[in-house]
């Protein structure tokens, strides 16, 4: 399947000389939900802005549906809806005018019925004549989403859609993402909440210092979550693993004072009792025993630390 977005060797150096994107290569598949994770200042917004045409990439190429975003911007931008990170709205406009304006701006014929449907689906219908300034933050965010959906885009960018949003609205947001995905909309979202990525993403990308340091199927990542570690604090330091323990793929840590055994909790036989039997047969004594499970959060944190 052809990627709906193809990013090739993209770099961005801001006028200040700061390199915000460092040789990004990424292909987004049609109708997938792609979650972009990364610490503050990693370059998530910059990457999205480059695809949407808000910042110019310094070098590299981006295509959307096979068309170059610079030369064929009319074609590519029509396909894209963007909900920016910041809630910037015209304070004195009504919900209805601001959403209708967006539809026109993106080259679509006025369609009040569609705008009504969109507003209803976001529980904004009773607010249609309210001025933006009269809305709460959560409502404003929904209006931003309505604006982005007003021209029926094939691709939706959500830059931190659930930042500062209450639990209920977050759930609604997830539900909306699922619905849109079922309708065939490709969704790229950024988030700081790992559980959000776990909940709704098909693939996860991690960006750090402008570099894409990991792109992985969520399922593959989650499988790593099934991995658990058994940590044995030894009585006496061990320099080598005895040959009859080779099958267990043990690791020595902490100057020989710790033995680590990795196992899969989803398997029927974890091999723990066999290991313990082998250890006493080899007369390796231990003081303490504990287990450790890596979460997506750990993976994320260690990735982000590693690349520093």
């Amino acid at each position: 399947m052809h990627p709906i977005i193809q990013i090739t060797d993209v770099n961005k150096v801001y006028a200040s000389g700061f390199k915000a994107l460092d040789n990004i290569n990424l292909a987004i598949k049609p109708a997938e939900v792609f979650a972009l994770l990364g610490p503050n200042g990693a370059g998530k917004t910059t990457l999205i802005s480059a695809i949407c045409g808000i910042v110019n990439a310094t070098s590299g190429q981006i295509t959307v549906a096979g068309k170059d975003i610079v030369y064929d911007y009319r074609h590519t931008r029509r396909l894209i809806g963007l909900v920016p990170q910041e809630l910037t709205t015209d304070a004195f406009e009504t919900v209805w005018t601001t959403v209708s304006f967006s539809r026109g701006l993106f080259g679509k014929k006025p369609n009040p019925a569609f705008i009504e449907k969109t507003l209803r689906s976001l529980s904004l219908w009773d607010k249609k004549d309210s001025k933006m300034i009269e809305l709460s933050g959560g409502m404003k965010r929904r209006v931003m989403i309505a604006k982005a959906l007003s021209h029926e885009p094939a691709i939706l960018f959500l830059d931190e859609p659930t930042a500062g949003v209450d639990v209920e609205l977050r759930k609604d947001m997830w539900e909306l993402v699922r619905q849109l995905r079922n309708d065939g909309v490709t969704i790229i979202l950024t988030t700081h909440y790992i559980e959000e990525a776990e909940e709704i993403a098909d693939r996860i990308g991690v960006i750090k210092n402008g570099q894409l340091i990991l792109v992985e199927d969520k399922v593959a990542l989650m499988n790593q979550l099934g991995k658990k570690q058994l940590i044995l604090d030894l009585k006496d330091p061990l320099t080598d693993i005895p040959s009859d323990l080779a099958d267990f793929n043990l690791q020595i840590q902490n100057e020989g004072m710790q033995l680590i055994y990795s196992y899969d909790t989803t398997k029927e036989h974890t091999g723990i009792s066999a290991l313990l039997q082998h250890l006493s047969a080899a007369s390796i004594g231990f003081k303490d025993i504990k287990t450790d499970q890596s979460s997506l959060e750990d993976i994320f944190v260690s990735l982000v630390k590693e690349s520093t």
Binding site: Y14, A15, C52, G53, I54, V55, N56, Y73, R74, H75, T76, R77, R78, I80, L82, P84, E86, T88, T89, D90, A91, F92, E93, T97, S100, F101, S102, R103, G104, L105, F106, G107, K108, K109, P110, K147
Partner: protein, 253 residues
Amino acid sequence: MNRYAVAAIYKFEMARTKRTIFQSIISPVISTSLYFVVFGSAIGSRITEIDGVSYGAFIVPGLIMLSLLTQSISNASFGIYFPKFTGTIYELLSAPVSSFEVLLGYVGAAATKSIILALIILATAHFFVPLEIAHPFWMLFFLVMTAITFSLFGFIIGIWADNFEKLQVIPLIVITPLVFLGGTFYSVSMLPPFWQTVTQFNPVFYLISGFRWSFYEVADVSLVTSFFVMSGFLAFCLLAVTWIFKSGYQIKR
């Protein structure tokens, strides 16, 4: 051509006027009326006629130009500056619109507004002085040309400005003096020779002269000269705006 986008911008901007009706329409009407009272009545009682036109009537074209110029500039510059200020510009930048279409929407709306305003002022003036328009076609032609040219100029200022001071400084320190020194309240022939020469370099002088000719067939310079200066300034603004769009100056990061 994304005509829905041009229409959307145009409608949006016109709606903004409706909301700020006082600021956009009423206040220039009031200030123009004050000019009539102060200049027309007070001074008009001393200077009875210039070039065979009563003083009150003589200043009408200049007063209309004063409002037309300042309103065109402020409407257009504010229109494009405001989204930059609030951040809603992200939507324009990510939309499938060309710079030219954005310009068409903003400049079109700004020019429309100031033309409406000019016609309202013309009607207001009619209450104070008897008016006759010798060449209605030319009157409208100058009105429309000026509105478009200075809306374009305002658009450029709005793109260039990165704070409210910059937004206001050009209209304040450049345009207002040019209009006042461009023969709104007097005929240039009334000035000493030195100032007559200085006036030759004031583009607004040609505008007012041409515009006044369309009313009373009296002018300080020939219609052809006015026409060419006008077109020259329009061409200059078009070139400037093209250059700005080519270089992406101040809009995109």
